[in-house]
């Protein structure tokens, strides 16, 4: 299927004098795991809430599974699994009750899968939600988002504040149940280690604007560091474009570039470098360099 699960075109959301999101355009390919990264307040949650018509755009268009986010929001909610950052359930309900309650909203609810998820995630059926820990509540939310076998799973920072064991269980359940079935996963998160393992595509939002959108593989190949050693003093400028940052000491410069290509080491040697070493960056390092450096 070549279509996009999500299409966002020129999306802007203004609150008073400030744009929480400004002119955002991006597409999420069907069947991919797409990571939306950004600092707190970058506009990730606003974007996600707009997909689900919980926030109305100031400008632009959002489409989910080919449907308009505002006009067809009810149809969208029936086909999409959604896990918000702060799950808002009825705290007096038991796990069994909330599962039964949710099942009613979905044509595609799979009761056998729901039961198996409750068991697999070790969720206590007869306990009330208010009695459960944050991590367990999040797992209940996940089970309910997965049970309708959604074509698209939208997760808004689902694992923040959760311990490493729960985070692994989350990721495992998402991969086994959604990706394995050809579904799409749209994940906003700070958990860059997890994104690094699973994402096909990433987008970085900064202060409401799209900074980068690329496949994870391409991003890791393009944003790299080059450690250059000079026989005498380090030059003031370098014949490279896309420099995000330069760190100098007496004989060494570490250059962070956003569009690495294989000719750069040779160029630097031609420019007087004694030795050149290319350093790969983790997604976390790429993220930090991208939101702090450059234009």
């Amino acid at each position: 299927m070549e279509t996009a699960a999500i299409v966002i075109e020129g999306f802007t959301k203004r609150y008073g004098a400030r744009d929480a999101v400004h002119d955002l355009s991006l597409e999420v390919p069907a069947g991919s795991i797409f990571g939306l990264l950004g600092r707190n307040g970058a506009g990730k949650s606003t974007t996600i809430k707009s997909l689900l018509n919980l926030v109305r755009p100031t400008a632009g268009r959002l489409q989910v599974l080919g449907l308009d986010s505002a006009a067809d929001s009810v149809a969208i909610r029936g086909r999409v699994g959604y896990l918000p950052e702060e799950p808002c359930y009825y705290p007096w309900m038991t796990v069994s009750e909330i599962v039964a309650f949710n099942a009613a909203f979905y044509d595609t609810w799979d009761a056998t899968l729901a039961a198996s998820l409750l068991e697999r995630l070790e969720l206590p059926r007869e306990r009330r939600l208010k009695e459960l820990s944050r991590g367990t509540q999040a797992k209940v939310g996940l089970a309910m988002a997965l049970a309708p076998r959604p074509e698209l799973l939208i997760l808004d920072d689902p694992t923040s504040g959760l311990d490493p064991v729960v985070r692994r269980e989350f990721l495992e359940a998402v991969i086994a149940n959604v990706q394995a079935e050809g579904g799409t996963v749209f994940f906003s998160t700070h958990m860059l280690h997890e994104m690094e393992r699973v994402a096909d595509e990433v987008a970085i939002l900064h202060e409401g604007r799209l900074r980068v959108r690329a496949s994870l593989e391409t991003l890791k190949k393009s944003t790299r560091q080059i450690r250059v050693v000079y026989p005498e003093t380090v030059p003031q400028t370098f014949p490279l474009s896309g420099l995000l940052r330069v760190d100098r000491n007496s004989h060494q410069a570490v250059l962070t570039v956003s569009a690495f290509d294989e000719s750069m080491p040779a160029t630097l040697r031609g420019h007087g470098a004694e030795s050149v070493e290319v350093i790969d960056l983790s997604l976390e390092e790429i993220f930090v360099e991208t939101v702090k450096g450059g234009a």
Partner: protein, 139 residues
């Protein structure tokens, strides 16, 4: 049914080596060290992806490569198994591959300024230990 994490892979997403290549290398190493033997069953692509929390495409790519190299084979309806250790390449091709691999080590030794005699001594020692593990009956 919990997928059995029989492979115990340790994957480092921040490494320069792509995840799929790490899986390929580690499965090859498991077969070479006899932790996995001919006929042993491997987890399905789906179970591997879920249990190691990696993208399903990553696991699928690794298995495709392992299958094309003759390390594993898929039996329709039954799963993935460690293949019979029949080499698929000619003697020349095998020699070429090992030469390329050794060249990489030689370049590294050069940069580390390891002298020839020391390098040969290290290689001999490692080779002996490795081959001893492959053929435990021999000394």
């Amino acid at each position: 049914m919990r997928p059995e994490d029989a492979l115990h892979l340790r994957l480092d997403a921040t490494s320069a080596v792509p995840l799929y290549a790490q899986i390929v290398d580690q499965v090859r190493a498991l077969v070479a060290s006899r932790a996995l033997r001919r006929g042993d069953q491997l987890p399905s692509v789906r179970d591997l992806a879920a249990s190691t929390q990696v993208n399903r495409n990553t696991a699928a790519k690794a298995y495709q490569i392992l299958e094309s190299e003759g390390v594993i084979e898929t039996r329709q309806g039954h799963g993935c198994f460690v293949a019979d250790a029949v080499p698929r390449w000619s003697k020349e091709e095998r020699q070429r591959r090992i030469e390329r691999s050794l060249d990489r080590t030689l370049v590294e030794a050069f940069h580390l300024e390891i002298p020839f005699e020391e390098l040969v001594a290290i290689m001999e020692r490692r080779a002996r230990d490795f081959f001893k593990r492959q053929h435990p009956a021999r000394k």
